[in-house]
């Protein structure tokens, strides 16, 4: 079973103050720490688990600059065999352009499955995986929480809204967008990442891929980034822990809950 997994490096934004940049089209990125996109981490783990069970190779692909190789090394340390980074230069990227670049690279690889995350933590688009599947002309499923390959198809479990999963058979090759919680991603040590440096990491420039101008033209553009509109917001409870606890208990009791 040969698997391609698409990964992205994203800024960590939990408990971080994001500052809108001067052009108001993005955020100041210089002081942010970067990590692997959470969904992609699960996708890599799923690829490696399937490879351990069924054999074959796992290839990790990302689009980005040299610093983004960090997520490829991480994928290699988790068990991927080889990796590709496409350098986009200073091209403007949106979900459409990204899917076009990925399709061009992946089309030449042998694969039974392509895995991506459901979405990325920064742009929250959730479109690249399925656009990629269409460009590769393979079947697809979104928000996948279980995969069991069986011959030339796979039993795929999709998470729906409202506490319900949908189980289907999907013909292979196919692309799945992987939801968090599908597995427990393994721990990666610094030592492991260092060792993975011996594994294959190829770099391709986007201009070498021979994509048309149409394929490299974004479908959408961010015109402005702004802070969430003001709401009434929460009434803040202040004071030391003991005073805060008193207040919380008072509010809960006032609302008719007996404690």
């Amino acid at each position: 079973m040969n698997i391609v997994v698409c990964v992205k490096r994203v800024p960590m934004t939990q408990e971080v103050d994001l500052i809108i940049d001067e052009g108001k089209k993005g955020v100041r990125e210089d002081e942010l720490a970067y990590v692997i996109n959470d969904w992609d981490n699960y996708a890599i783990e799923e690829a490696v688990l399937l490879q351990e069970k069924f054999g074959g190779t796992v290839t990790a692909v990302t689009i980005g600059d040299e610093e983004d190789e960090e997520v490829l090394r991480r994928a290699l340390a988790m068990g991927a065999d080889k990796s590709v980074r496409v350098d986009p230069g200073d091209r403007e990227l949106d979900g459409f352009v990204v899917s076009g670049i990925l399709a061009k690279v992946i089309r030449d690889l042998e694969f039974d499955l392509v895995l991506t995350g459901v979405q990325a933590d920064d742009d929250n688009l959730g479109m690249v995986g399925i656009m990629l599947a269409e460009k590769l002309e393979v079947g697809h499923a979104s928000v996948v929480v279980g995969v069991e390959p069986d011959g030339d198809s796979a039993r795929v479990k999709v998470e729906l809204e409202g506490g319900m999963d949908e189980v289907s058979n999907l013909r292979l090759p196919a692309l799945l967008t992987v939801q968090t919680g599908i597995n427990e991603p393994r721990y990666v040590s610094i030592m492991g990442i260092r060792k993975a440096r011996k594994k294959e990491l190829n770099v391709v420039g986007v201009e070498e891929l021979g994509l048309s101008e149409e394929e490299l033209t974004p479908m959408t553009r961010i015109e402005e980034v702004f802070l969430p509109p003001e709401t009434d917001g929460a009434e803040m409870i202040e004071g030391d822990s003991s005073a805060v606890a008193e207040q919380i208990l008072r509010i809960i009791r006032e609302k008719g809950v007996g404690i």
Binding site: L160, E166, S168, L170, G181, V225, V257, I259
Partner: protein
């Protein structure tokens, strides 16, 4: 003027709430810009239930009735819709930003060549061109997004972004039955079953007080601490998605779009940042009290009371008082 197409999402014979929200928003846009609202229903004989419901909110309902639509299949939907947009050139096509919509909309975009913006919380038409508002960085910021010029545009709509008012004037939409195109390609997907993931030993939907824990709990061992607090308070323990993803609590504790919608008198959120998927599940809560270290956490935008603090300090202080 052009049409606004709404792709109706339904499951097991029921129209999903997102469909009504899209019809409501599309209706509003149509009134302001004299477009025509057209709902599209792809269904098997469940169409008999679905169509009357939809016709109350759309001037025209296009129905493709076929046994192959007994369950959602994004490949079939894409085939039908791609041909439909080619025939009708709708100005806007709306789909839900749901598990199914996420599998359909990007596919339709590639097939039709229409540009797509996903997970939109607002839609504005200016000078005949749409632009949308969507959240980025998990709701910490908003963005206004424009499309490249096209005859039609595709948008997926975030569930809960456009709430339908209780008093909605009803229309009597015309129904048009369409034959399914004869040369539909075979699809590589076979539906097997639905699995209920919400059942378990604890029913969080019945609790008056939910003590709910999120990513901020940090370690699996710490869950016991919060469980203890829930016990002494006489409340029920619930959680947000990251806690279930890490297997620290079973799925039936999960509040949110993929878990359960809850309606306690008090929802006490500990270390929950407030992703929209979570917040959507607590819309029915009486009072929300949130504790989080991050003063910018989105949960404070929806909570009634907030505490910026380490949740464990608050948990121990509460235990001391009980």
């Amino acid at each position: 003027m052009g049409e606004i197409l709404v792709v109706v999402e339904h499951r097991q014979g029921e129209v999903r709430e997102i469909s009504k929200e899209m019809l409501f928003k599309a209706g509003e846009i149509c009134r302001n810009a004299s477009h025509e609202l057209v709902a599209v229903v792809l269904a098997d004989n469940a169409a008999d239930n679905i169509v009357p419901e939809v016709a109350k909110m759309a001037e025209r309902v296009l129905v493709f009735q076929d046994d192959r639509f007994n369950n959602f299949d994004s490949h079939l939907y894409r085939e039908v819709l791609a041909r439909l947009v080619r025939e009708r050139n709708p100005f806007l096509t709306l789909m839900g930003h749901t598990s199914w919509g996420m599998d359909l909309a990007p596919a339709l975009s590639i097939k039709s060549g229409y540009p797509l913006a996903t997970d939109c919380v607002d839609i504005v038409i200016e000078d005949g061109r749409p632009s949308v508002v969507r959240q980025i960085y998990s709701g910490k910021l908003f963005s206004r997004v424009s499309f490249r010029e096209s005859t039609g545009y595709l948008i997926t709509v975030r569930p809960g972004a456009f709430l339908v008012p209780e008093e909605q004037p009803e229309v009597e939409g015309k129904t048009e039955l369409h034959e399914l195109y004869p040369d539909m390609a075979e699809t590589g997907k076979e539906f097997l079953e639905f699995v209920d993931t919400g059942a378990g030993d604890v029913d969080i939907t019945q609790a008056d007080l939910l003590v709910s824990v999120g990513r901020g709990v940090g370690e699996e061992e710490n869950i016991a601490d919060v469980q203890e607090l829930a016990d002494v308070m006489g409340g029920t323990l619930s959680c947000s998605r990251p806690v279930v993803d890490k297997n620290w609590l079973p799925k039936y504790h999960q509040v949110g779009t993929s878990g359960k919608s809850v309606k306690p008198k008090v929802y006490f959120a500990l270390g929950i940042s407030g992703a929209f998927q979570h917040v959507a599940g607590i819309a029915g809560a009486g009072t929300v009290i949130a504790v989080n270290k991050d003063p910018k956490a989105p949960i404070f935008r929806v909570a009634d009371y907030g505490v910026v603090a380490d949740l464990f300090n608050v948990v121990s202080a509460l235990k001391e008082k009980l």
